[in-house]
Amino acid sequence: MSITLTEQAAQHVARYLEKRGKGLGLRLGVRTSGCSGMAYKLEFVDEAQGDDEVYESHGVKVFVDAKSLPYLDGTELDYGREGLKEGFRFNNPNIRNQCGCGESFSV
């Protein structure tokens, strides 16, 4: 089981955390909602939860709750740009379908 960040993603996360002035790391998660059943969560972490698995990637701690882990296992979080738009991208091997916009998906 593992979740990773690309070096570029890790650099951005580290910068945001520094700017924010607090936070233990980054939380990846899924929840049920959206047009294709599931949606990603991408949040700062101020407090770990009891069932969190913690991974470290390029110096950044990544928290994933036990329920989300099966849907995210093997995911690599990347940072990239499309035109003028910049942000984080989930490269998740578990996905079968996703909605046109990619904001929600099913496994």
Binding site: Y16, G34, A39, Y40, F44, L84, K85, G87, R89, C99
Partner: protein
């Protein structure tokens, strides 16, 4: 594939529900767009990585417009259709613009068309108002933001100078609407800069914002209390900026190199090198200035930081004089300022930093890019207002600089929203009619701190018509003042029984400058005592007049209830009061009122008995009331020298009248 931003814990937006917001610094020379991404305010660059959006619009004969660098290239070739610095024309008439031209010693290449409210410009694409031209800039800003965020903006915060008046603010808002933008709010530029530095979360106190741009200098003194910034004073120089520093170096080069008169091309070339040298000196002690002129002559000079500081000393001193004046206006000492924020690229110059540090006795805040700090603050505010940070329920508020109220009988000011109330604000108060059967009420909206309307500023007048006939004091007219987030005022009057309504939105063509506001406040403090006395006198006069009119109406109606000598005594008392009203002895007026009240006591009792008998005889009360007001309705216009008949009088039921009721 979607690109995600990091949310605060527990606040990931549901799919397709992320609400996008941006802050726009709509500048005179350049505009910027910023947004908050993953909790960090960031200025958005264009496709070529340039953060600035030059505030330049060029109109083409086919009616389309170019904006930004693309338009800037045409400034020299197509000046008439290429509009720069349109912000200076916002909410301004032709006469103001001509005055500005004279002040700046320049001739604008545009053909102005006078129009009510605001000057317009004739271009090859037709006559354009500054609002339409600004809208083109905002459209470009919007396109940039939406390209970055990948969706439609829910709303924006646009910054405006602190000294912008209501007309200029309204024009800015109209431009945004035209550009299809939803404006959460307009934010003062110095306030935005303070927010970018997180001062809204800092200790309460006084902060100064020193803004030295390319062509203008602004100083603002802000007071932060309970998360609310109040602009205490502004000042500056609309013709002092980085360009003047360039000019000084340029003259120094001409002297040092003993150059003969230059071709315009050579002059432009030197100017470019001069600007580079100036920027170089922000980080180094010495800057080389090397120019090969068209004549083959080579200029090779070195400008050191000390010389640069010396030749620009009086420019810096001019800014400090404005700083001192602003502090004086706010009645503050430099030591009382808790922090100084630097805004504008020209504040990078070390001699400016030193001078500001010296003037305030503290190091200014300068670790954010001074060109971007206003846009960043706007983005942070927009992010808050769009509701992306639901965890925090505070909102940064502005305040009303002068009390808002209306004129009541006798030319008195009744304040509805007091000065320094946080906006948005809404307050309502009840008023009543002055005369029996009064059918209309004229509402005169004023701004100021003085007790007499004549000493305040008139904002708007409107009339509430169709008040059903009632005896004086019976009508209940609820007047609601509402100030929206941009400081725009709307006033609504509603007669409660018949439900008639009238409303006005105040868009004064010219608002007040901060100097005028300061002067009005000073006046009010100086005249407080005298005003209070005048007010008490006026109130007594109004009350006396009302009593006379009520008595006369009763006499007309029921004179048969009285004996001749009773009538004579009442008439004498009326005549005496009538004479005293014209004087200024409040005590005498009050005593004479008591006399008249005493003389009419018996009369009132008899009338009451008669009323009861009539009612018992099966007449409906409404018929009685109609009977009592069978005289034609009183016009809303003043009918006599003293008593403007249609004005609202404070409601007779003091409890509801004197306590403004908060509706939001």
């Amino acid at each position: 594939m979607t690109l995600f931003q990091i949310s605060e814990p527990g606040e990931s937006a549901a799919p397709h529900e992320a609400r996008l917001a941006a802050g726009i610094d709509l500048g005179t020379t350049n505009s910027l767009v910023a947004t908050v991404k993953s909790g960090m305010a960031t200025v958005l660059n264009d496709e070529q990585g340039r953060p600035l959006l030059p505030s330049i619009v060029r109109y083409l004969p086919d009616g389309t417009a170019q904006v930004g660098y693309e338009a800037g290239d045409w400034q020299a070739k197509d000046p008439r259709n290429t509009i720069v610095s349109v912000k200076r024309f916002m909410g301004r008439g032709v006469r103001d613009i001509a005055y500005g031209e004279a002040l700046h010693g320049e001739m604008l290449p545009y053909e102005f068309v006078d129009a009510p409210g605001m000057a317009r410009l004739r271009t090859c694409a037709g006559v354009k108002s500054p609002v339409e031209i600004s809208a083109e800039i905002l459209k470009a800003a919007r396109a940039r933001a939406e390209a970055h965020l990948g969706g439609e903006l829910a709303g924006v915060v646009i910054t405006v100078p602190a000294y912008f008046d209501d007309a200029q603010r309204q024009a800015t808002r109209d431009a945004a609407r035209l550009a299809g933008l939803n404006v959460f709010r307009l934010l003062n530029e110095p306030t935005a800069a303070a927010i970018a530095y997180g001062l809204d979360n800092a200790a309460e106190g006084i902060y100064a914002v020193y803004d030295l741009g390319g062509g203008t200098f602004d100083i603002s003194i802000l007071k932060l209390s309970r998360g609310v910034f109040e602009v205490l004073a502004t000042g500056g120089d609309s013709a002092l900026g980085g360009d003047d520093f360039d000019q000084r170096i340029f003259c120094w080069v001409l002297e040092e190199a003993r150059l003969p008169p230059l071709s315009s091309e050579d002059a432009r070339l030197i100017m470019v090198r001069v600007r580079e040298a100036k920027e170089f000196l922000s980080r180094h002690d010495k800057a080389p200035i090397t120019v090969k002129l068209s004549s083959g002559l080579t200029v090779d000079l070195t400008l050191d930081a000390r010389t640069f500081a010396t030749i620009t000393e009086n420019l810096v001193a001019r800014t400090l004089r404005a700083v001192k004046k602003a502090l004086r206006d706010a009645k503050l000492l430099p030591e009382e300022v808790k922090g100084v924020v630097m805004v504008g690229g020209s504040t990078r110059m070390p001699q400016v930093q030193r001078a500001v540090a010296g003037a305030f006795g503290r190091q200014p805040l300068n670790n954010l890019d001074p060109d971007k700090v206003v846009a960043l603050g706007a983005a942070i505010q927009a992010n808050l207002l769009v509701g992306n940070r639901t965890g925090e329920d505070w909102l940064l508020l502005d305040v009303i600089p002068l009390s808002l109220g209306l004129e009541t009988m006798g030319g008195l000011t009744e304040k509805i929203i007091p000065r320094n109330a946080a906006i948005p604000a809404a307050r309502a108060q009840e008023f009543t009619t002055f005369r029996d059967g009064q059918a209309a009420m004229s509402i005169h909206v004023v701004q100021g701190e003085r007790e007499m309307v004549a000493d305040c500023r008139s904002l708007a007048r409107f009339e509430l018509k169709g008040i059903p006939p009632m005896v004086a004091g019976a009508a209940r007219i609820r007047v609601t003042f509402q100030v929206d987030a941009d400081g725009l005022l709307s006033v609504r009057a509603r007669e409660e029984t018949a439900g008639v309504e009238a409303e006005v939105t105040v868009k004064p063509s010219y608002g007040l400058s901060d100097d005028e506001i300061a002067a009005m406040l000073k006046d009010s403090a100086a005249h407080a005592r005298e005003d209070a006395q005048r007010r008490a006198l006026k109130e007594a006069q109004v009350e006396a007049q009302r009593l006379i009119e009520a008595t006369e109406a009763a006499l007309r109606e029921d004179v048969r209830l009285l004996a001749a000598e009773e009538i004579a005594r009442i008439e004498t008392a009326i005549a005496r009061l009538q004479t005293l009203i014209l004087g200024d002895n409040r005590r005498e007026i009050t005593l004479a009122m008591d006399d008249l009240a005493y003389e009419t006591q018996e009369f009132a009792r008899r009338r009451m008995d008669q009323g009861i008998q009539r009612a018992l005889a099966g007449k409906r009360v409404e018929e009685l009331a109609r009977g009592a007001a069978s005289a034609p309705p009183m016009p809303a216009e003043p009918s006599g020298a003293f008593a403007p008949s249609g004005l609202p009088a404070p409601s007779a039921s003091e409890a509801s009248a004197s306590r403004p009721e908060k509706t939001t």
